[in-house]
């Protein structure tokens, strides 16, 4: 067990940011913490790192209790915080060397590690740049390099892709998978479900400081009734036809807005076929058929009754 959090409670005054939160992460996982803004992801991470006081609970890392002076444990942890944490007065290279130096004392070894980190985030051309001169995406990459240069066994990333262009974002996601392939356990927090679905082997969905669901993405999707959502472009649709559609087996919900018909089906076979048959029977013209499998947003929606993102 790389990380074990039991019954963690953290209050900010009257606000309960973490409410008996539990988590267990195994070695080799890319573990996703998915939750809307303010759900308590960063709070969890900061408690895990012994940065925050908490009211109740137990936190173990690599099987030992995590405390502010757990220096042996800290050696094997790499952290990329939500806020970019670099010195404005140091260049790209110097920043990485500074932070790596807090972990690795040996000069030649550190030099090698810093070079590797720079290449890893593809910042070699910018090594002499000051952070102020870097674009948002490059800055995020520097932030990551500062956190991982010492080759930690456990890497914690708190929303590393916020405000990053798609190109940099993909680089970052690929990089994280590479780190994992090289043996690191990853904790990745985000409120973008696409990212989490793309890279995470296991996901915990958080809301209001609670862990409301946990599993692989397929397991999570299997938890809900929703099988697929089928949408069709339809020019005109009579009340009568709508009722007929609603009468089809497995239909959970149907909407018709702006000439777009959306039908949500629960799990079952031949849903699309039955719908198309009905359209043909009633001679309703349609175009552009889309079938979508459920997303994590649907999972979140079904459990909490609200959208993951507003």
């Amino acid at each position: 067990m790389v990380v074990k959090i039991e019954n963690l409670v953290k209050r900010y005054g009257d606000l309960v940011a973490l409410d008996h939160f539990n988590l267990a992460i195994e070695e080799g996982e890319v573990f996703g913490l998915l939750g809307p803004n303010g759900s308590g992801k960063s709070t969890t991470i900061n408690c895990l790192l012994s940065l925050l006081e908490f009211d109740k609970g137990k936190i173990e890392v690599f099987g030992q209790e995590m405390k502010p002076d757990s220096y042996e444990l800290k050696k094997d942890i790499g952290v990329i915080m939500q806020n970019v944490a670099v010195f404005d007065e140091l260049t790209v290279y110097e920043n990485i060397d500074y932070f790596c130096g807090l972990y690795v004392k040996d000069k030649t070894e550190r030099k090698k590690l810093v070079e590797e980190a720079i290449n890893f985030v593809e910042l070699s051309e910018f090594r002499k740049f000051y952070p102020k001169k870097l674009s948002g995406g490059l800055l995020r990459r520097l932030n990551i390099a500062c956190g991982i240069a010492h080759k930690p066994k456990l890497i914690i990333l708190d929303e590393p892709t916020v405000a990053v262009d798609p190109q940099s974002r993909n680089k970052i996601l690929e990089g994280i998978q590479n780190l994992n392939a090289n043996g690191a356990t990853i904790i990745y927090t985000s409120h973008y479900m696409e990212e989490v679905e793309q890279i995470c082997t296991r996901i915990a969905i958080m809301d209001k400081g609670k862990n409301i669901a946990i599993g692989t993405k397929d397991e999570l999707k299997a938890m809900i009734d929703l099988g697929e959502t089928i949408s069709l472009e339809v020019l005109e649709l009579s009340e009568e036809s709508m009722t007929a559609i609603q009468g089809l087996p497995h239909v959970i919900k149907m909407t018709y807005e702006n000439h777009l018909l959306k039908v949500k089906f629960s799990k079952g076979k031949h849903n699309l076929l039955r719908l198309l048959d009905l359209m043909k029977e009633r001679e309703i013209g349609f175009g552009g058929v889309h079938a979508e499998m459920p997303t994590l947003n649907d999972v979140f929606l079904e459990i909490t009754g609200k959208e993951l993102r507003d």
């Binding site: 940065l51 220096y71 800290k74 007065e89 140091l90 130096g101 807090l102």
Partner: protein, 377 residues
């Protein structure tokens, strides 16, 4: 070790802290130089005129009073004897004398018009005399030959007392006081850099602080490395400021400039440690802490006599503890005890007090910082 050099690099790349520590005192020093330059040497030492009314004769007191000398061997007091109390009071009113001493048998009473540095010297003498009177009288009866020794002792006491108060019109350069206070302030400006260092190690006050908290290097070590690097820079800066004061503004710092320099280094140590402590101990936002460090060096140097020389004298009278612990005053006294009085003992006392204060600041900062978790990040 590389963090030491990075800290130094960072200070040079963001030179606000350096800038203020050098430019502010140099500009202010220039201002003093031109303001005081014209009147500078005009005011020579003059004896303090004291009126004496002997309601009942007290030869011994008058004798000893006339024997008191400044360090340079000039009599400190000039006595004028009056027959009537009213006559003396008139003279006091007309500023012919600074104080009137009424002698009535054993009783000695000092009347002054308004408090000033000079009247305080008279007061010091009278107090010292009263304290030693019995001893002197007894000695005069039994061992008349030893009376001179006692008087010399008394003389010394009065002089040492004087080192604590600014002696306007007594020093070789009456305005040196302001330059001493200025140099003290230059050292204490280090507190603003101390605050910056403190912010950069606290997880709830800066992102880099958070990163440094999750690293396996002990906080104490990180704090001390930053501290040492910053202090080194300040020592160099203060050497420069002192050089400007000595060579450009032609200030006299006595024969032992090396020890003056050492005092500025100790002063920077106190400033830095103070700043670090403020950033750790004070509640509130970044800017509150930054603001407090400015208030600290401003108030401290004000109390040290930067703007108004008489302040230390007033404090000495009403609240002497402030003068014993205020870093700027301690530094001014250290400078003064060397350059004006050549008193190494006094210098050492001031310096050790400063070192102690700095060490307390630093220890408090480290104790507060280590192994802490934050209430909110």
């Amino acid at each position: 070790m590389q963090h030491f050099w990075y800290q130094i690099k960072m200070m040079f790349r963001n030179p606000t802290g350096i800038f203020w520590a050098v430019v502010f005192p140099v500009i202010l020093g220039g201002l003093f130089y031109f303001m005081f330059g014209n009147i500078g040497n005009a005011e020579q030492f003059s004896e303090i005129p004291v009126g004496i009314v002997e309601i009942q004769e007290d030869n011994m007191f008058v004798e000893i009073l006339m024997q008191v000398e400044t360090g340079d061997g000039i009599s400190m007091f000039q006595t004028k004897t009056y027959k009537e109390k009213t006559e003396a009071e008139k003279a006091l009113e007309a500023d012919e004398v600074q104080g009137v001493i009424l002698l009535d048998g054993g009783e000695i009473e000092l009347v002054i018009k308004e408090s000033s540095i000079r009247t305080s010297i008279i007061q010091t003498f009278v107090d010292q005399y009263l304290q030693n009177k019995k001893l002197i009288e007894e000695t005069a009866m039994t061992h008349p030959e030893r009376v001179m020794g006692l008087v010399e002792n008394l003389n010394g006491e009065v002089q040492i007392q004087m080192t604590d108060i600014p002696l306007k019109g007594q020093d070789k350069d009456p305005y040196a006081q302001y330059f001493y206070a200025l140099l003290a302030m230059a050292c204490l400006i280090a507190s603003s850099v101390g605050v910056q260092n403190g912010l950069a190690i606290q997880a709830n006050l800066s992102p880099v602080g958070a990163r440094r908290n999750v690293a396996p290097t002990k906080k104490m070590k990180q704090v001390l490395v930053d501290f040492a690097a910053t202090l080194c820079i300040y020592c160099v800066l203060m050497t420069g400021v002192l050089a400007v004061l000595v060579f450009v503004y032609k200030q006299e710092f006595g024969s032992n400039v090396g020890l003056i320099l050492l005092a500025t280094w100790v002063g920077s140590f106190v400033g830095l440690a103070g700043g670090t402590m403020f950033s750790v101990v004070l509640k509130g936002s970044k800017s509150t802490k930054e603001g407090m460090s400015v208030v600290f060096f401003m108030v401290s140097s004000f109390l040290g006599g930067l703007q108004w020389g008489d302040i230390t004298y007033i404090l000495e009278k009403n609240c002497p503890i402030v003068n014993r612990i205020n870093p700027a005053t301690l530094m001014v006294n250290a400078f003064k005890s060397l350059s004006v009085f050549g008193d190494y003992r006094k210098y050492a006392v001031n310096l050790i007090t400063l070192l102690l204060i700095g060490a307390i600041f630093l220890v408090i900062s480290i104790v507060k910082l280590r192994r802490c978790r934050y209430a909110s990040v």
